[in-house]
């Protein structure tokens, strides 16, 4: 089913839209959630959360890219689940590695206080990423947005693992420099 048809089902408040979205993008969503949470059970619940949030937000929203819209809600739902019950949950293994790698981008203790600041930081990161070569951007997002293992990224791109690591290192370093120039360090 085409994305626009799925969105139309949501708009018309027809619950088949949820099943259609899950059928088409369930794998993608599960993979994102599993990367963040590291538990299949938790990941499944995060996918359900994301589908419910989609139901609640379309309408009024009219996503242009349904895959990205769903994935974004799913990633957010997974992080929310972690934060809601921090004591009982840990970041998934892949996410934990990704977080460690990102640790040097901002100095210790630097946090964003609220959603507005997170959005500002995201806007800066987005501007930075748009200025990067397409492949470097793709690799960075697969690693830190889609929470994918380096070895999987290497397989998808045809690069060696060390090449992927090197690209990620360079991009993180450049991002740190960029954020510092923008007053974020």
């Amino acid at each position: 089913m085409e994305d626009r048809e799925i969105v139309a089902l949501f708009r018309e408040r027809r619950e088949e839209g949820i099943a259609a979205a899950e059928k088409k993008y369930g794998g993608l969503l599960f993979s994102v959630a599993l990367g963040v949470l590291g538990s299949r059970e938790d990941a499944g619940e995060a996918v359900n959360d994301a589908l419910l949030r989609t139901w609640d937000s379309i309408p009024p929203n009219e996503p242009e890219h349904l895959d990205a819209y769903l994935a974004k809600l799913c990633r957010r739902a997974a992080i929310d689940r972690l934060r809601r019950d921090r004591a009982g949950r840990r970041w998934g293994g892949v996410a934990e590695q990704a977080l460690e790698e990102l640790a040097d981008v901002l100095p210790d203790g630097k946090t964003v206080e609220d959603a507005v600041q997170a959005s500002e930081l995201a806007a800066l990161i987005e501007r930075f990423l748009l200025a990067q070569p397409e492949t470097a951007r793709w690799v960075f997002l697969r690693r830190y947005w889609y929470v994918e293992a380096v070895v999987d990224i290497a397989r998808e791109t045809g690069y060696s693992v060390s090449k992927v690591k090197s690209m990620l290192h360079r991009t993180r370093k450049a991002l740190g420099v960029y954020l510092e120039k923008e007053g974020y360090r």
Partner: protein, 294 residues
Amino acid sequence: MKGETVFVALGELGEDLIHEAAGTPARHRSPIRRLPLIAAAAILLAALVTAVAVWEPVKSAAGVQILTATGDKLRAGGGSSSVLQSGGREICRIRDGRILFLCWEEETDVTDRCSERDYYAWEHAYDNGVRQLVLVGGTPASAGWLYVYWFTDGTAAFDLPCAYDYYGADWFYRAIEDYGLDFLRPMETDYGDLAVPATKELLEHGYPVNALGETYGPMVTWLEEPDLELAHGKDGVIGYLRRTELDAATGVGQVHSPEEALAWNEYVRQRGAVEIPLYREDGVTVVGYFVVGG
């Protein structure tokens, strides 16, 4: 947890970017796909790259380059390396159809100064007497670059990250003439009865494997290093170096910081030269020796 701030902020990126990354990656471009760009010279190029690879027996690993040159005879070794150069450095990038030269975090648009015949040159003399030359040539579709360091003891080190493209380019040969870089000129090599796979064959099928399960062949820029790497050894003998033996002798993977680099250089100075075997493609029959250091 450290890193969480950026990780969470990434969640707010625009959907266009997320959608782009959800798709298929721009796969690592095989040189084979570039062949049409230089089809007329393809066979010649393959031979030249193979020949040149003989002179590049040691490549970077763990971020360390230890290629050195003396006059027109290149050899690998930690002993005479006076500078350790970090690998993985980005010299140029192509964006929006423009060639951007990167230097000290700054981008310079050099597109209009480069063509198939023309190149952009950047030179710098460091306080310690080391000179650096970076050359960029070609068009946005065929851009290539190289850099050379000259050390105070008369040796030089270089890297040719895009050799496959520019061995067919006029700007490369003009630069060799203009800057006296004869040691970069490709050479033909007679391999005798040694089995040496052609570059084109390697690019299409990967490295052949011997009875020990080891890959062998000349270094090719776009491929992982083979287990047995073609090299030019003592008394002009050509054979295969076992990479693990070469790495152990040259410090690859053992140097991770300037301090360790200095310590390694000191160790090599005291150790002097060591010889490691050159084998036939079977990885067993010794045909000569390769000298490291000294």
